[in-house]
């Protein structure tokens, strides 16, 4: 049986500007080494959930506990062990890939030689070696997505959070990104993933949680959910469980 990595209990978040909770007593666990997907329509609470898990937001109530190295840690204590790929490009476009990676790597206090080796490895893996000294602002969307991912991997994270990692990229970049993610996962990295690209999510995730109006409406492995709900794919599942009404 797989170990529990993240234990989420009765997690709620109410924004000051909103009467309705964005997350309403959400409880579930993420297992070590799994590829876990968070899905739902716009406004379901996906970004709020990921933000709390990455310590970007404070929950109104409830708890998040990480079980790392036989220790129970809160979100603030595990920052060194996570990598985060936000939907926006979270780097400095005026700098080169090497400068970006060196800067973010230095913030994790990675020793100099080790950091250089890591930078060389990531640039090679992402197919960015030939442009490593060019400013990122001149890159295509796919190259920017790959450097966005590379920065999140500079600290060898145990848990990788991905928010729409493949928006606006060509099929080659998409294949490359998923290939890297699969490789990471095989090496033991737990991946928590959210996207509106349901087909790629369907192919990638082991287990998913479906959120709607801040509540969990389903959680299980993909195939069990399809069978339980008598649907063929994730898109059908989402429509069946959340309806066709606009949410924003």
């Amino acid at each position: 049986m797989q170990e529990v990595l993240i234990d989420i209990k009765e997690l709620s978040k109410v924004y000051k500007s909103s009467e309705r909770p964005s997350l309403d007593s959400v409880s579930f666990s993420v297992l070590k080494g799994e590829k876990f997907g968070v899905f739902g329509p716009n406004g379901a609470g996906k970004t709020t959930l990921i933000s709390i898990l990455c310590n970007l937001l404070q929950a109104s109530s409830g708890s998040v506990l990480y079980h790392i190295n036989n220790q129970q840690l809160n979100a603030k204590s595990i920052l060194k062990s996570i990598g985060f790929v936000p939907q926006d490009f979270a780097f400095y476009p005026e700098l080169t890939p090497v400068q970006n990676l060196r800067y973010f790597g230095s913030l994790y206090e990675i020793p100099k030689q080790q950091l250089q080796d890591k930078i060389d490895f990531l640039l090679s893996k992402m197919g960015l070696e030939s442009v490593k000294n060019k400013k990122v602002q001149s890159f295509s969307g796919g190259m920017k997505r790959r450097i966005n991912l590379a920065i999140a991997l500079i600290n060898d994270p145990e848990i990788l959070f991905l928010d729409e990692p493949t928006v606006g990229v060509d099929v080659q970049s998409k294949v490359a990104i998923f290939s890297i993610l699969e490789e990471l996962n095989h090496r033991g990295t737990t991946i928590i993933y959210t996207s509106h690209h349901l087909k790629e999510a369907e192919d990638f995730c082991d287990r998913i949680v479906l959120l709607d109006n801040g509540e969990i409406i389903a959680i299980n492995d993909m195939q069990s959910l399809f069978t339980e709900n008598n649907v063929q794919n994730l898109e059908e599942l989402l429509i069946k469980l959340t309806g066709k009404t606009f949410r924003d």
Binding site: L56, D88, F89, A90, F91, E94, R102, N148
Partner: protein, 426 residues
């Protein structure tokens, strides 16, 4: 320490890549300080050293008009062109056509008017001294002598007033001389003796100007001494465009979000920005001071004289830089877009500069504007630098500046901290 160094290097690299920001922070103040100093220096020379071209239409039938023309020619302030036959109606157009800044029309009865006034005053005096019979003062009616001045509309009010004063001075000399002469005649002499007339003209009080100073050494106030500190301060505060914009950009892209997921990285980033922009501000000051000291004299401009005490200059420079950086951080934190940060930042600095006395000195402003001007951090920075560069002030003269700048910096930093805390960045 390694993390801080990496952050500082990153900020430095971003700054080097921000070509527009660098131009605004370094080239703009150099250009401004050159242009404004040259313009002000030229204006100063125009008033004090150059001769004004003047067209004189002397219609006077007596001799006093000619005396006035001679005095104008001998004053050294005017290049006189005479046009005795020109009609009054043509003077305006001829002033412009002949490229004169001013024209003077001496009326045909100018001598007569001056003589009448002199006679009235002389009679009154002799009557009061009881040399002649007592006459009721109400019976003395004199008409003020008039000359007309036409001026090119491009001539600024201050120059025109300065010319008016010069002309008034010459006319007063003529009037006094005539009055005393008339007094002599009425007392039975033929005319005022030449030696007394000469003595009277030689006895005019000369005004010797000396700049006030609170210290021992005194600087000669000139356009360089005023402009180099003033525009250096302006340049420092204008870093709001680069630093404020940079902060918004990082906030709007995902960089800040990523930094939040790295332990203590966010505060490190803010701290490294302060270090880099502090270096920028000190470099700006150093460059502009070097220009004032070494380059200005080569261009015929007055040399910047550095104050004797270096430590107060360093302290005021650092406090001014901290105030400028804190203001830029505040604008960058509260602005929602880069355009908002750039627009508001630039406009607010221009307003602060205007009310703070960077463009025109505060003392020429009305009282209420002087009071409003005291909210401007640029005003206090300028007060500090003027104390050092113009008045040779000491620490006690800098107390107000130091207290205000510390309070201003702390207020900006506190408001920035509150906003970042509310946004969950720290």
């Amino acid at each position: 320490m390694k993390r801080l160094l990496a952050s500082v290097v990153k900020e430095g690299l971003i700054l080097i890549n921000d070509k527009v920001g660098l131009l605004i922070m370094f080239l703009m103040p150099i250009f401004l300080v050159f242009v404004i100093t040259i313009v002000q220096d030229s204006a100063f020379r125009l008033v004090n050293e150059n001769r004004f071209d003047i067209l004189v239409v002397n219609k006077d039938k007596g001799a006093i008009g000619d005396s006035l023309v001679k005095m104008l020619q001998n004053s050294g302030n005017f290049n006189v062109e005479l046009a005795p036959t020109m009609s009054r109606e043509k003077i305006g157009t001829e002033t412009i056509k002949r490229d004169k800044l001013i024209s003077l029309l001496i009326p045909s009865d100018f001598s007569q008017q001056i003589k009448n006034n002199s006679a009235s005053v002389s009679n009154m005096m002799l009557s009061q001294f009881e040399v002649t019979e007592k006459i009721d003062p109400a019976t003395f009616k004199s008409k003020r002598a008039e000359i007309e001045l036409f001026y090119d509309p491009v001539l600024q009010e201050s120059f025109r007033l300065s010319l008016n004063n010069s002309l008034n001075n010459l006319v007063n000399q003529l009037e006094t001389s005539n009055m005393v002469s008339q007094l002599y005649i009425d007392m039975g002499y033929e005319d005022i003796p030449t030696d007394i007339r000469d003595q009277m003209m030689a006895n005019q009080t000369q005004i010797v100007a000396a700049p006030a100073s609170v210290g021992k050494a005194s600087f000669v106030p000139n356009s360089t001494q005023h402009n180099v500190p003033a525009w250096s301060i302006f340049a420092m505060f204008f870093m709001v465009i680069s630093l404020g914009g940079n902060l918004v950009k990082e906030r709007l892209t995902g960089s800040f979000v990523r930094l939040q997921t790295i332990p203590q990285a966010f505060m490190l980033t803010i701290f490294s920005k302060i270090i880099v922009y502090l270096m920028v501000a000190m470099t700006q000051l150093f460059l502009l001071f070097l220009l004032g000291i070494f380059v200005f004299p080569l261009l015929g401009l007055p040399e910047l004289e550095a104050p004797a005490h270096v430590l107060p200059v360093i302290v005021i420079s650092l406090l001014s830089a901290f105030a400028a950086i804190s203001y830029a951080l505040l604008v960058g934190t509260y602005a929602k877009t880069q355009e908002q940060a750039n627009g508001f930042g630039a406009v607010s600095i221009i307003i602060f500069a205007a009310i703070g006395g960077i463009w025109v000195p505060n003392f020429v402003m009305p009282d209420y504007m002087q009071t409003i001007g005291m909210i401007s951090p640029l005003h206090w920075c300028l007060e500090g630098f003027y104390s050092l560069f113009l008045k040779n002030g000491s620490w006690s003269d800098l107390q107000g500046t130091i207290i205000y700048l510390i309070l201003f910096t702390l207020s900006c930093q506190t408001l920035t901290y509150i906003k970042l805390k509310l946004q969950n960045y720290i």
